[in-house]
Symmetry: C2
Subunit: 169 residues, 2 copies
DNA sequence: CCTAACCCGACCTTCCTGGTAGGATTTGTC
DNA sequence: GACAAATCCTACCAGGAAGGTCGGGTTAGG
């Protein structure tokens, strides 16, 4: 697998936020219920997005999260980068700023790294795909067949088993 | 990380075979020594390549492996596919031949999968990058000395450093 | 018949992923 | 002011896969 579930959950979370109007913050619980994801785990995911400046938050009652920018201006490479830490096809490509030796398997001296060209191209292909996709596109794609976004105002505070009922089938 | 070390080792192995003349098979031990990789592990790696029909082998004394086709005719998507099993950015995209639905986190009924569009594009970007690279290119690239490869390497139009982020722990 | 090599499957250990637990803090509402 | 709803933070943990190792079997040249 290429991306972890943090990326999957984080993108879903961003899409969910993109469906809301930013005036009213959306609580994590609403998102967790809508997507069927564990709330405690989502907290860790959204923390990465917040630290990356992609979402903003308000604490306390009626707090929640919202996009820090309009969805049209959020390219998905930022999102995935924030969630995954780095977009690297291979160990050697994770160059943190420290100076540690990254490519452990050097061939004979004088020869270049046999795989560098390949992974560089792959990385480029991935990043270009992500850059060329905006959050707004995903929101539109996800909402195409669907009903209204979950309104914070109209939301029934009690149990709303609609989603889980359909998920079982 | 996107690809496992099996992919790294397998590609190196293929490059090494591409450097040899196919008339004489190359023993795994020679490759293991040249690349500094554990022989026993390479055996597992090369088995995948053999089962995929990318290399051929001869047993017994003076046996070894060689490319089943010229390096110019081997696209790297075949190689990586053989080594990794499948090139899938997310769980949902690993479709074994059965047609079961693997996406466990369906949103509300009537809505499409929010992330499908994104991962489809990413997968396309990866596969295209791999298809457009032949083993022969890697052989040539590895044989070169200094880092002249600016003309060869695809340019990533990213303005910011791509894999520079720390892995947020 | 011995040795170099391929072939095969079982095992093992470490690390990361995915998730839980439990609390501390902030803030609107009654 | 008490309470509840929510964000925030850190530690912990179980399972599985990654990345190997090991031991042996089979094939073929000298």
């Amino acid at each position: 697998m290429i991306f972890s579930s943090k990326a999957e959950y984080g993108v879903r979370l961003m899409v969910e936020l993109g469906r809301q109007r930013p005036e009213q913050p959306t609580s994590l619980k609403a998102i967790a219920d809508a997507e069927g994801l564990p709330l405690a785990y989502l907290e860790q995911v959204v923390a990465k997005l917040r630290r990356a400046g992609l979402v903003m938050s308000a604490r306390g009652a009626h707090g929640g999260y919202w996009l820090s920018r309009p969805a049209e201006e959020i390219a998905m490479d930022e999102v995935v980068q924030a969630l995954e830490g780095s977009i690297a096809p291979m160990e050697c490509f994770v160059h943190d700023n420290t100076e540690r030796v990254l490519c452990s398997h050097q061939p004979d001296a004088g020869r270049g790294c046999a795989t560098k060209l390949l992974w560089t191209r792959v990385q480029g292909g991935i990043i270009r795909s992500l850059q060329n996709t905006t959050l707004a596109e995903l929101v539109q794609f996800a909402g195409r067949h669907g009903p209204e976004p979950v309104s914070v105002v109209e939301r029934v505070p009690a149990a709303e088993p609609v989603a889980s009922a359909f998920r079982a089938a």
